[in-house]
Structure formats: C-alpha cells, structure tokens
Amino acid sequence: MELILKRLHFIEDKLDRFASVIAIVTFAAMSVIVCMQVISRFFFSHSFQWAEEMGRYLFIWSTMLASACAVHSHLNIGVDILVNNIKGKAQFIVKLMAQVFMILAVYILTVYGAQQTIDVYSAGQTATSFPVSAAALYLSVPVSGALMLFYSTVQLLELISHGKFTENEIRDFFRGAAK
C-alpha cells in the first residue's frame, strides 16, 4: 500500500505541475489578450474580433484547471461545521463518506463531460471568430474532471491508509530559487 501511494504521489506531483503550468499560462494569456484589446480599442480605435471569444475560451480552461489544483490542495469551498466539531472515529467516517461522494460527483463530471464534448464535436459547431471546434470549450470539463478523479482517489487511499490527508500547498515554481 505504502509503495503504491508513493508511486501515485509521484504521478500526482507531475500532473499537478502540468495543470498548474497550463492554468498559469491560460490565465496570463487571458489577461494579456483582454488588456491588449482595451488598449487597442482605446488608442487605435481598432478591436480584434477574436479577442473576446478567445479570452472566454482561455478563461474557462484556466478556471477548470485551477479547480483541479484546488482539489489537489483541499481548497474547495465547503461547510466544515460538522467535521471540525467531531473527533476520532466519527470524524474519520464523515471524511470518508464526503470523499466517496466527491469521487462520485467528479466521476459524473468526467464521464458526462466527455460525452458532451464528443456530442458538440460531432455537431460540427465551431467558435464564431476562429476556426476551432466549440468542443474545445467543453473539453476542459473532462480533462479537469479526470485530474480531480485522480487526485480525489489518491486522497481516499491516503485517508484509508494513514487516517488523514497529505497536505499539498499551492505550487511555487521558484521557491528556493529566491535569494
């Protein structure tokens, strides 16, 4: 079990690095595109037709991937009143149940998100201002769903074998490089 968890943590770390990088890049690209659009419209009276739609696509990708990072670091908003006020076995059982329900929700999100992506792709709908299938928008759901499914399953295993979750901080790429 320990060995399996160790391997899984290794993969989890790689996946989180990947998701964080893409979330940062899409977030930064979205910011640059919208700022550029405003400045260009304001000073040169010229707007890029694709900017708004492209911004929205990047925004949804950044949102979904950052949500996966949030699952990785246990940052999702929830109501913790019960679990914070009980101890020992009862707390363990509540955490276990919550984790199982979460996995169920994420599973639904992944499978039906994938189905939805395929449906949109076969319908042949594209973005209005650039030649990409509208499925690119929906693809963010199963991709992020799959990441969340992996993270939450690893968390379930952590809970079963150690009785608690491993803490994961938000990734800081240059920690250590500082100073």
Partner: protein, 425 residues
Amino acid sequence: MSWILFATFFPLLFLSVPISFVLILSTIAYILVMGGDVSWLLVPSRIVRGMDSFLLMCLPFFVLAGNLMNNGGITERLIKLAQAFVGHIRGGLAMVDVMVCAFFGAVSGSAVAATSAVGSVMIPSLKKEGYPADFSAGLTAVASTMAPVIPPSLAFVLYGAVSRVPIGDLFVAGILPGILMALALMSVVYVYAKRDNYPRLPRTSWKGRLKAIKDSILCLILPVFILGGITSGIFTPTEAAAMAALYAFVLSMFIYKTIAWRQLPKILLESAIDSGSVMLLVGTCYAFGWVLTNERVALRLTEALLAMNVSLWLKLLMINFALLIVGMFMDSAPAIMLVGPILAPALAKMGIDPIVAGMIVCINLTIGLATPPVGVCLFSATNISRVPFEKVSRAALPFLGTMMFVLMLVTYVPWVSLVLVNLIR
C-alpha cells in the same frame, strides 16, 4: 419533488462535501428521481454555459488586481495613511485597524484577503500596544467584511451576474453603506477606548500627513479609476477590471518594485485558484439553477411572501433574519449565487428597488463571513491572533451588532444605497 433536495443537498453539505460537488450530485439525484427524458448531459453543458460569460471575466481580473496590490506591500502604506489621520484619537490604533480595512476594501474585493493582509500586521501591533488580543481579532474579522461592500466587490459582481443588475450601479451603491460601516465601527471603538482607557498614538503633523497621502495615493487611485471608467461608460466592468489588474501590475513591478518576476507564477496561480473555485461554483450553481427553475422555487417563494398578511417592514426583517442564518453557515459566494436568483424576483414584486435588494442580500451575506459558528474571517483572525475561536467570536459580537445596525439602515432607508446612484445617472 422538493423532498429530494432536502434528502441530498443538505445532508451532503453537512458532510462537508465541497459545495460545487454537492450541487452536481443534487442535480443528478433530482433528474434521477424525476424520471422522464432529461439527459445527464445537462450538468456538464450547463456548467460550461454558466461560466461562459464575458461579464464574469471581471472576477479573475479583480482577484488578480487585489493579489498584485497585496503582494506589492500596500498594507504598510495604507496603515501609515490611516495612522496619520486617526492615530491621535483615543483608541487610535484600533481605529487605524478599521480604516485600513476600509482602504483595503477600496483596492480589493475580498473579505478574507482583507482579514489576512490587514490582520497579520495589525493584530500583532494592536496586542503590542496593549489592546486585548480577542478584541483585536474580533474587530479585524468584522471590519474586513467591509471589503466586499466598498467597491470593487466580488460579491456585487456575482450578484449582478445572477440577477441582471448592472455591476457599476451596485458598486456605486455600496460606497455610502461602506463608509457608514467604517464610521459606525469607529464610534463603537471610541466608546470602548473611553471606557477601558486605550492608548493613543502621537499626533501626526500636516507635513507627515501629506507625505502619507503621497505614499499611498497611487494605490487609492485604483478604485476611482475603476468606478469612473465603468460609470462613465468608457469601460465595461470586465475591461475596467482588466485595466485595474494591469495598473496593479505596473505599480508593483515597476513603480514600487515590490514584486519580482519570479514571484509572478505563484501570484497568477493563486489568483487562478481563487477565482477558479468561485467560477466552478458559478457553473455548478447554474446547473443546479435548472432544478430550482423546474421546481419554481422563486415563484413559490414570491407567492408565499406576497400572501403573507404582515407589513412590508416585518417581511424585510424576516428575510434579513433568514439570510443571516444562511450566512452563519455558508460562505458568501455560493450563498449569493443560490439565494440571489430566488430572492431577487420576490423582493422586486414587493416593491424593493433592485439595487437596494442587491445591497440587502450582499451586505447581509458578507457580514455572515464574520459570524460564528462558520465564518472564514473569524477563522482567519483566530489563526493570526492564536486566541481560542470562542473568545474571538464573543469579542466580535458588539461589532457584529454594529454591522447589523448599518444593515437595518440599508434595508429601511433606500436613500442610503440610491443617493449616489441617482447622482451619477
């Protein structure tokens, strides 16, 4: 069919399943029980469509602007500014605490960010000056709920998006209630200071005051810039937010030089995660909204409220009480998105101005961030002060009462919210 909501939504919430996932499961459970030919694909498709809005893109930009300013060390500048003007009054440092929370609210729109940014500096210095630790923590927790009332405000962005009220109007409407909150809190602090003989700081000369203004003016221009841009129609809210982020970026990278390039990825990722977890809620709330519409929850609530044979005055009191209960247990973002679309039509039918309705819902639910048993601002202040949660909660009570007083003013005196809005129209 409403029983299925009680059988899934509340138990799952209580089990501490994250709210986004509770909403997904409740929607699926509802579709299952209802039978018929509704596809489960409704859930992912509505999640994406709920998030796919250019207007909502102002959320990540306001978060980014706030995070850049915060990492750029604005808190120290704001503290010096507040100290220069109110430090010499009895209980001066506690007043500075309130004022810095208000200033911080004018730069960032998040209450928790205010608690951690202001609290981590102010709570230790208040303790060092001889203020009781629980008083300092309770005051800071409550004062930081001003941040989402004073524009820019993430709460108003969410409310505006779900109930179709112009975000610019909500921002302007929030100014006066925000100032009233600050004044009310400072008056209560003054009463405490007189009674317990709290210390005062040396008076700052006008020269010192001018210097404090000069050092912080570039931070405090930001809200003027945002509000002016939106209300004059030069920018859409999203464009104004993007410009605010750009301004904060230039300010902290090139003028104050407080952020290094290598810190940027972390700030970007934190902003993506902060706004991402709220945006996932926007999407899942939109999916769950289908259930609420299908069950005609808003319509039924409106009918029930209209049929009630009591005065409008009492109805508003009941609504505020119900909102307060919701706020005691739930974070303000999901609460606004769940309650807003249900309550807005009912309040409109009762003859309440949509802007005032927005103020009532948002202010009430953001005060909930500092109410026990569940309040992120209280938790954050507890962590910083290392005082037991119960003591911080008890110390916060008088200040919460003060906020309630302002909430009542906003509820029963529409003028408070509308005077500035009418002025700019």
